[in-house]
Structure formats: structure tokens, C-alpha cells
């Protein structure tokens, strides 16, 4: 769910807008390191992928379906900075073209889904990957934990913003419990989808997965055994 206009008061919206602008500025520099001058086309196409895959409905049981949010998955696939840019671009398009998420709340949405979800998801991923042996299973486990935690983390960040600048008099404990509980469930779905997608990419094109770079082994270059030329050669 994107935060609409008028949900948070003006100071909070402005503050998150400043945070979002700073994050995007940093991400623009960081993405250049990840993708060099290919940033624009590759980040653009990855954003188009995120946009499309958010429309894909995955059944999660009991007749309900959910869709991927994709912050952690994108960070593992293309690197955290590019992922921040991709999520930001998707949110801008959704706000400007589909009125999904308010224009004045754009900074809030970028902070929650671009910054908190991606950075926390990727941070947890790196931590888990470091603790586990460098295998495909380790990468998938890291992505699962990162994706799972990124969703309730964004929800709780939202509750925090709501506590600071919410316009309704609601008991915070109740909001935190409800949002946290619901988003733990959504996080489970996010983790399952992330693992399914990432596992398949690792099978087909492991070289494309930024978060699995440590699994790639350099091709060993061994000197070809030299056959000594016969003494009676024509050369």
C-alpha cells in the first residue's frame, strides 16, 4: 500500500522528502559504481521489470494472492544503489501516472519502500551471506531472510512516521501490532517469491546476480603443455 496525500502532516512529509532526495542523490553516485555508464538503460529496464512483476499475482494459499514488492530481490539482483533507483523510479511512475501514492507523499513512499526496504533487506542479506558458507543455498537463505524482514521493517518505519506526524488519534501500540502482524505474513510471501525468482535466475544466469558475485570462481588459466617441436621440422 502506498501512502496517499494527507496521511502524514506537512513537516513529516517534508522531512521524508529531504531524506528521499538525499538517498536518491547518493544512489545516483553509487549506481555509477555498480553499472558505470550503462546505468540509464539497465536501471530503466530493471525498473520496468519491477513494475511488471508487481502486477503478477502469486497465490499464497486460502484463496488469497499477493504480489512481490521486490526491494530485497532487486537489491540482490542488481546491487543496492541501483535497486534504490529502480524502486524510486517505479514509485514516481505510479504516483505521477497512476495517482498510486500521493504526490506530496512521494518522499515518504521513497523513504519507506526505496530506502528502508532495500537497505535493510540488502544489509540483512549481506550479514546472513557472510555467516553462511559461500554456496547457492547461503545466497538464497540470505535473500529469504532479507526479503522477509524488509517488509515488516518498512511497515514499522511507517508506524514510526505515523507516530511523529500522523493526523489521527490512534493508539500506537494497536497500529504497530496490526501493521507488524499483517506485514510479517506479507513478508513470508515476499520471501517465498524472492527465493523462487532468485533461485531460477541463479540457475540460468548466475553471472547476472550481483549478490552472488562471491560464488563466481575465476576460470583457472593453466599453461597448455608445450609439445616440443620435432627436430626434423620443415620450419
Amino acid at each position: 500500500m502506498h501512502v496517499p496525500d494527507g496521511f502524514l502532516d506537512a513537516p513529516t512529509s517534508v522531512a521524508t522528502g529531504v531524506v528521499a532526495a538525499g538517498t536518491v542523490a547518493l544512489a545516483l553516485r553509487g549506481a555509477r559504481r555498480e553499472l558505470d555508464e550503462r546505468t540509464a538503460p539497465l536501471a530503466g529496464l530493471t525498473a520496468a521489470f519491477v513494475f511488471a512483476v508487481q502486477m503478477m499475482n502469486f497465490p499464497v494459499g486460502a484463496g488469497t494472492s499477493g504480489h512481490l514488492i521486490g526491494g530485497a530481490l532487486t537489491a540482490v539482483l542488481v546491487g543496492p544503489w541501483t535497486a534504490v533507483l529502480c524502486m524510486t523510479v517505479v514509485l514516481v511512475v505510479q504516483a505521477v501516472l497512476f495517482a498510486d501514492g500521493g504526490l506530496t507523499a512521494l518522499g515518504t513512499n521513497v523513504t519507506l519502500m526505496g530506502l528502508v526496504a532495500v537497505v535493510l533487506g540488502y544489509g540483512v542479506f549481506r550479514l546472513v551471506v557472510r555467516l553462511l558458507p559461500p554456496t547457492r543455498g547461503g545466497v538464497l537463505a540470505g535473500a529469504a531472510v532479507g526479503a522477509f524482514l524488509s517488509v515488516p521493517a518498512a511497515a514499522l518505519a511507517f508506524v514510526g512516521l505515523f507516530a511523529v506526524g500522523g493526523v489521527a488519534d490512534v493508539s500506537l501500540g494497536a497500529v504497530a501490532a496490526t501493521m507488524g502482524g499483517v506485514h510479517l505474513l506479507i513478508g513470508l510471501g515476499e520471501a517465498a517469491i524472492t527465493v523462487a525468482v532468485l533461485g531460477a535466475v541463479l540457475t540460468v544466469r548466475p553471472d547476472l546476480v550481483h549478490g552472488a558475485a562471491h560464488l563466481r570462481r575465476a576460470v583457472e588459466l593453466a599453461p597448455r603443455p608445450v609439445v616440443a617441436p620435432a627436430s626434423g621440422s620443415t620450419r
Binding site: 500500500m1 496517499p4 539497465l42 530503466g44 502486477m55 501516472l97 504526490l103 489521527a168 525468482v197 535466475v201
Partner: protein, 260 residues
Amino acid sequence: MGAGHGGALGAVYVPGSSVVHRLAAHVKLVGVLAFALVVVATPVGAGWAWAAYAGFLALVLGAAAVARLTPRRLVRGLAVEIPFVVFALLMPFVARGPRIEVAGLSLSESGLAAGGGLLAKATLSVLAATVLAATTEARELLRGLERLRLPAVLVQILSFMIRYADVVSGELRRMRVARESRGFRPRHLGALKVLGPAAASLFVRSYERGERVHLAMLSRGYTGRLAGDPAAAVAPAQWAVGLSLPLAAAAVLGAGMLVG
């Protein structure tokens, strides 16, 4: 998170030649943003708040009428609000403060006001943004964002995303048609075994398309900047027309504050 976000980008714009269509994109962007700010700034608790909301609604519907948008298009734009409506409807039940009985339910007064206010504000802003999206081509919107000093690289990423979003979504749709014509029905979590690799191949295809696009750009002399025509100057009259919506809304707000 039931329904997914978005839809076909091409279906957003409604071609036309009204005054609203002809305004420069960045003027419209500023106008809609300022309108949303005025709407958000209206205090929910004030007694005249609902009169102000009615005034804002009349203004934004007036703008839609000038742009010759059909009610259907506006309602379609409002569909994004649905998950949020659920949240706003919960508000009277969970908020604190004095409670009133409505049809046998114990509701919080402040929660009712807050939920209603949130719903009104969100609806008004969504309507304004829908008018913007329906009267401005995606490419024009990008140029508008560029003129509002959005970083050039971000604008380039946005332009690639908008250009290829329908291509990538189209691949996704064809993959779904192919799956379903072979009898696949996603029913439970086991479907992830099929849907996961589908999404994965979509990523691989998108990324490889990005690499091909980059090579094609390089072979056409891309140096990291996209060439564009110099932006035409915008006459003050255009600004006056574009800002009439937020200015009128601000007048409504001011009148409410004076009277109330």
C-alpha cells in the same frame, strides 16, 4: 496486498486538445502538486472543513470537465484508492477518544473525523493527479520533470522505464497466456515452482534487453546524455491558467479560515 499495481501505461493518456491538454507539463505538475498541498493543509477538525472539501471537489471536477474527461476515466483512476479505503474505514473502530453509537456500533468521534478527512483528502488528490495523467503524455511528463530540475540520469532511467514498461508487461502477459492455455491454474504455494522461473526469465530478458539497448545507443554515439530540443519558454498566461486550480483552492481555504 490483493491486486497488483499499475496497468498498461498506454491506457493512461486520453488524447485531446483542450486547454488542459495544451498546458506545458511542468506547469501542470506544479499546479497539481500545489493543489494537493492546499488540500492537505486543510484542517480536518474545523467545522467548515467539509464545505472546503466540497469546494475542492467542485474545482477538480471543473478541471476534469474542461479537459473533457469522462466520469468513467476518473472512476478508473480512483481504483488505486481501494486498499486505502479499508484503512480509513477501520479508523473509527480503532481510534481513541469519546465514542458515539451509530447503528449499534461504538465508533470513535475523532476516528470518524480523521478517517473521513483522510478519505476526502486522498480522493481529491487522486482526482487531481488523474486529470494530470490523463491529459499529459508520459513523454511530456518526463520533460516536465526534467524542467523541474530532476537529475538528468534519473530522467533517463524514467524514460527507459516508461518506454519499456509496456514491452516487459506484454512479455509477462504472453507468458501467462501460454501457461494458462496449457492448463496451468495457480491455486496454492506450489505454483511458485512455475511462477518463480517465469518471473526470473522475465528479469533475464529485461536485463539482456537493457544490454542490447545500451549497445545500440553506443553505436549511435551515446555519451551519457540524451539529446533533446531546447525547452520552449512558457508564457505567463500559461502559468496563470495552470495555477488557477491551486489558487482557487487556496481561496476556498482562505474563505473557510476567515468565516470559520
